[in-house]
Amino acid sequence: MNYRIVTNILGKIMTLIAALMILPVIVCIIYKEDLINYIAFLVPMVALFIIGRILNIKKAESNRILAREGFVIVGLSWIILALFGCIPYIISKNIPNFFDALFEMASGFTTTGSSILTSFDNLDHSIMFWRSFAHWIGGMGVLVFILAIIPESKDGSAMHILRAESPGPQVGKLVSKMRATSRILYLIYLVLTITLILILWLGPDKKMDLFRSMIYSFGTAGTGGFGIDSGSLETFASSTQYIIATFMLIFAINFSIFYLILIGNFKEVFKNEELRSYLIIVFVSVLIITLNVYTTFKDTVFQYTFEESFRHAYFQVASIISTTGYTTVNYITWPSTSIMILILLTLIGACAGSTAGGLKVARLNILSKSMVQKIRNMISPRRVETIKIDGKSLNNEAVRSVESYFTLYIIILLVCTLLISIDGFDFTTNFTASLTCLNNVGPGYSSIIGPYGSFSEFSWFSKLVLTFEMITGRLEIFPILILFSRRTWKKRI
């Protein structure tokens, strides 16, 4: 392990977080908040800055980052992010309990959107801003941001960092230079986010003032899901709900698709299998849920008009598959077919290379193709067949790593369900809490943790387990698991 380069980059990240904390301080100034809020942000800022500087005093002799260093850097920096990011909550007394604050911060950075807050009335503006801004930074990734601003390294070592932080089975660059790649990604991200802020702010919905537009845009762009109104987006105008639903779907698309559109390469866009599967899944789910909800509640007190059923189905599907977690309705009262579809969407998640979490449609494609291949192989054992994605054959190594990823994913899901079951809630609560956190979605599927509920009733231990799950899910398991291996920390071999 090249410890020096790890501490160097961690130091850079800490300095960056310190710099980012200037934004909530500006919010403090605008809303003329109490002195305690300034202190709440300044304390971690100064601490981060000093530690960051110290870690950068001694420069690494070799800049070489191997796969192992890449994983460790990414894993550690996300833990540091959550630990230091939660300090303002505690000092400002908005969320005084450490485990609550840690849970809330991890939920923010990993773009999960699960909250332990039951009401938003006592939150200060700066804290609300910091909570949602974490979504925006965590969505595309802190290290990708770092790669966009630090001087170009001459070798390809930064590739390991990009690969460890970006979601998806196969991570590639858009252009040949790493720094240019991260800049293009952040530029697309920034432009889309600003567009959304403007649309919401200038749109017809009077409830969307500039501050709310920003909060909900950050939540949508990072596919996070933190809001500042009880009942999430339920009380907003239908136009707002349509806009946000559409943008949630957009942010869950692989960002390389936007790049291809920008350079005018539409042929590749149409060839992309993941995008096609994703749109099909969305379309079919919306269709089924619309009909299911409309027919079930017809001629009852809860009756929806057809437009309402469509809108709620569209919004909920967009929100769950993009792993955002905003809601417009308390869907746990819905018929079980619809709920089951939403649970499946939770599991699948969106496209690789987007800001969304979950298993990813790309992996689902590979898994189902390899399954079909296995079945065909049972019928004629001598058959030779290669798995193709986007017209290119995939080597066995890639298929195997997706399969083992899936296995690990299920194991973590179940073990964590077991661990939080100690609290004594029912199965649906435990399982969907674990599921929603591992996939970075947000709300669960029982009255305790559903759209109207919160995670505050869990014990500190369960909150810690769920925090672990959120970070593990965001970084796609390996960067966190690798931290627990003794071999990782050995100097040689």
Binding site: K154, G156, S176, K177
Partner: protein, 451 residues
Amino acid sequence: MRIIVIGDGKVGNAIIENVSKEGHQVVVVDNNPNVVEDIVNKFDVMGICGNGASYDILKEAGAAHAHVVIAVTASDETNMLACIIAKKLGAKSTIARIRNYEYNKQIKMIKEDFDITMTINPEKETANEILKVVNFPEAIRVDNFAEGQVDLIELYIPENSPLIGKTLIDIHQKYQVSVLVCAVQRGEEVYIPNGTFTFKAKDKIHITAKRANIKQFLNKLGLIETKMKSVLIIGGGKITSYLGNELLKNKYEVKIIEKNYERCVELSELLPNATIINGDGTSHDVLSEEGLNDSDVVISLTGNDEENIIISMYAFKQNVKKIIAKVNKESFVGLMESIDMATIVSPKDIIASKIVSYIRAKNNSRGSNILTLYKLVNNKVEALEFIAKPKSKLLNKQLKDIKLKDKVLIAGIIRNGESIIPNGADMIQADDRVIVVTAGQYLDDLDDILV
């Protein structure tokens, strides 16, 4: 600049390393996924897995907007095809590696009719490099500037040399020869020396001078060797066929030892005047039977670095005067240091510096061209030849008044065919060719040498 490199073998790798470190946007195409994965991890480049001569892959790699496409796969035919397609797609210039002996006879027609900007032949270039050293056995390495008007020579300072303990100023006063020491390698370190620099035994020095002056200088030092006559080459690959041909033209006695019988027959057809031996060149019996001890020059060119090193060490023990070996892996070069006068050639480095000089010249928007570029001392030092444009800021100033960057030296000026080894009073004039030596500065324009 946007550069596409097709084929990531030894030469491809060296090119990728050099151009990506100079900050260009590089896309690598290779059909082996593991190789592509490795190169992407090693350098800041984009990798595409596929056949480099296929239209779709080249399009995906962005050949339409590429400035330079370099095809260096193992197959000459693939390289040519890739260049033709890339050109049709819109690539500005294309470079193909063509190393087949037969194709090289029709190279002019290939370049013109297929519209390939440049062809490279590492084996032929390496043969030329070796030939220069065989012709000039006192030197470890010989490079030419301005069509041979100025030489850049690497010399070894033996333990009993009169140069030891002397400074550069002493030497100028004592020998009164117009030579300029532009770089010194001492162990792992490289120095760009000034007047007070003192020589030590086992230094390897690089000097620029006119050919006649160098001979005079060596004469005064007592380093002149008698002309070499017999050359023993071990390994009969492509380099050997080019080298054998040139050596025979220069009236050397050439003996070639090659393991493979079929290849021996081919060589005997190609080089009827050479003695072709079918045998294992790593066997001491074969070597002594074929007269290694009596050979003036032993050149080991087998496909295996380790074999070449072992053969060289054996030849050194047998007191062979001049030893030349092909070593491709950089990490092995150190092993050869123990053989004082050995010359190491590496086809991949020779080609890489050629490509780098081409790309730097293209990259320069100010229009002053790099004519040649050599990489010396394990690629730590560069020697470049520029043309001084009429707009250059260096013109008509005495060299001693020009403030140069650190580790940069003006090593020669060639004016109207006359070469000047400069001192502080000389001036650069328009259209001069200027030779600059630097350790670590990136130069693509003559004015870059100014602070």
